[in-house]
């Protein structure tokens, strides 16, 4: 299963930073499926899930954008009260701390994107507990 990769772009705290990157992605013909910004006032990291990760990565690098790949877990949770808690409780029970979390509901499917330092351990833990982790293809075909 191909793990889900996001592109992470460094952004200074200036008005044009997101536009600078989205313009490049548009020029490259890359479609953005999801975007999230982790911001600490002075600077931030914009994370994208795109349809053509490799192409976008090379394109951005060639256009002097500071970019890196970040592997995340995409977990499908039940779209009901307590759905998120189920995942949080599993990870907390094994003392896995989360770096960045975001979630969305699409076509009645609730997806959590988890950035964790101990990716493999978290992956095993969640699969063992019967949770469905999406591959990159699945994510992109949502």
């Amino acid at each position: 299963m191909k793990p889900v990769q996001l592109l992470a772009v460094f952004a200074e705290n200036k008005p044009d930073q997101l536009a600078r990157v989205t313009r490049q992605l548009a020029d490259a013909g890359v479609n953005i499926h999801w975007v999230g910004i982790a911001d600490v006032q002075k600077f931030g990291v914009i994370r994208f899930l795109v349809d053509k990760t490799d192409l976008a990565f090379e394109w951005l690098k060639q256009h002097d954008v500071t970019v890196s790949r970040v592997e995340v877990l995409a977990v499908e949770v039940e779209d009901r009260p307590g759905g998120l808690h189920q995942v949080a409780a599993i990870l907390a029970g094994d003392s896995i701390s989360l770096a960045n979390v975001s979630g969305f509901v699409f076509n009645h499917r609730a997806i959590l994107l988890l950035e964790v330092p101990e990716l493999e351990r978290a992956r095993r833990l969640l699969t063992d507990r019967g949770l469905h982790l999406l591959s990159e293809e699945e994510m992109l075909s949502l």
Binding site: L7, A8, V40, R47, V67, V70, A99
Partner: protein, 430 residues
């Protein structure tokens, strides 16, 4: 390998006797030909006949930056105007330019000193030198150029900037040695890396001659590591011919200052009192052999010390320690004295950081250090950047005793200059 073995390894007593003869001669000459010096010597109550030993040099008046400006354009000329063959100006690190004149013999002697320096680093006629300093009024490129031709090197007068073309020249003509500033050397290394080239495999570079900006040992190592070369520190100033005043030998441990041509003193920059070998202070130089515009006890404002021990290379000319700053570069922030080089040293010792930085002073004593992180140091996690920033703040605070603000910038986003890098922007409203 020596260029002028007899002079370079001359026993100290002989060398000092030569210095004294030349000092007596130059004092006598400026006393008769330069009205400024005639007056300054009279005011100091010294006549040329009073110079009986090298220690008597201390009785001579200093020459300062301000004296050069006050005598602009040609008040300090010691030969008739028609015997002057070249004009340079100071590179303008500080304020208005100063005019510096060369006679035909001065040009030739400066080239001889450069030849000594180049051979001292192991350069030979086989080498191809790419000279990336600024040609023109600045002494950096032209003076070194002439010396390299004396050695018989193939000199490519590339001039600064245009990294694309620099790389092309390096590839097409198999450049083995380059001459540039430390900041451009680091910029170029990054440029080459971005092109997907490995300098160790794809280029023929062996050595870098690095000068015109004071830089730290950490910066040298960074340049050497990034390009797979040996980098040699070059020291000079336009007032004393430009480059070639002092240079590192193959041992890379201090810069041999050519004492047959320059009389060297280290003084306390505040009191003017001479300091002993090993003590850090301001470098003061007297040009012993320049014809067109010899200067007595010129206050370089560069801070260094003399390394007293003899060098294993066999040269008897004493070594200067790495220049640690200019006395007028010193910043006072919240009552604490600090030098930009201290900040540079810290930044260059942190591998996750890039090589470009800016020291910004604004408001009421607010110190901000902007620094690029290394492209390889970005893993997409914002928390790691925050941690890196905290580490930089802490390391700087430990070194300079003032807690700065640190702003991380993306690689390649801080301004790069082609000549001397401007690292300090002072916009304080004090």
């Amino acid at each position: 390998m020596y260029w002028q073995a007899e002079i370079e390894t001359m026993p100290r007593p002989e060398l000092e006797a030569l210095q004294l003869r030349r000092l007596q001669e130059v004092v006598r000459r400026v006393a008769t030909t330069v009205p400024f010096y005639r007056q300054a010597l009279a005011e100091a109550g010294v006549s040329p006949d009073d110079i009986r030993s090298l220690a008597d040099a201390r009785r001579l008046p200093f020459t300062t930056n301000a004296d050069l400006r006050a005598n602009y354009p040609d008040g300090l000329l010691a030969i008739p105007r028609q015997q002057v063959t070249r004009l340079h100006t100071s590179s303008g690190t500080t304020g208005k330019p100063k005019a510096l004149f060369f006679s035909r013999r001065d040009v030739d002697q400066a080239a001889e000193l450069i030849a000594r320096c180049l051979v001292m680093t192991g350069c030979t006629a086989e080498d191809v030198l790419q000279n990336m300093m600024t040609y023109g009024l600045f002494t950096g490129a032209l003076v070194l150029h002439y010396g390299a031709e004396k050695v018989g090197m193939l000199v490519i007068p590339a001039g600064p900037g245009n990294s694309e073309r620099q790389l092309m020249l390096m590839q097409d003509f198999r450049t083995t040695v380059f001459h540039t500033t430390p900041s451009y050397a680091l910029y170029l290394a990054e440029f080459i890396r971005k092109r997907g080239l490995d300098p160790r495999k794809d280029l023929a570079l062996r050595k870098g001659l690095v000068g015109a900006e004071a830089h730290s040992e950490e910066t040298r190592r960074k340049i050497e590591e990034a390009l797979g070369i040996d980098a040699y520190n070059s020291y000079g100033l336009s007032e004393m011919n430009g480059p070639g005043v002092a240079f590192e030998c193959e041992h890379k441990s201090g810069l041999h200052l050519w004492e047959d041509q320059y009389l060297l003193e280290i003084i306390d920059p505040v009191t003017g009192v001479p300091l002993a070998d090993g003590e850090r202070g301001e470098l003061v130089l007297t040009s012993l052999t320049r014809e067109a515009m010899p200067l007595l006890r010129y206050r370089t404002r560069d801070l260094t010390s003399v390394i007293p021990a003899p060098c294993p290379c066999g040269r008897t000319h004493r070594r200067l320690a790495r220049i640690t700053g200019r006395s007028d570069d010193m910043l006072v922030v919240r009552g604490v004295n600090l030098y930009p080089q201290q900040i540079e040293r810290v930044l260059m010792s942190i591998p996750e950081l890039g090589s470009n930085y800016l020291i910004h002073l604004r408001g009421l004593d607010e110190l901000t250090v902007k620094v690029e992180f290394a492209a390889s140091g970005f893993d997409g996690r914002v928390e790691n950047l925050v941690r890196l920033e905290e580490r930089v703040v802490e390391k700087l605070r430990a070194e300079i005793l003032v807690k700065p603000k640190v702003e991380l910038s993306a690689p390649g986003t801080l301004p790069v200059s082609e000549g001397k890098a401007k690292r300090v922007v002072d916009e304080r409203v004090l």
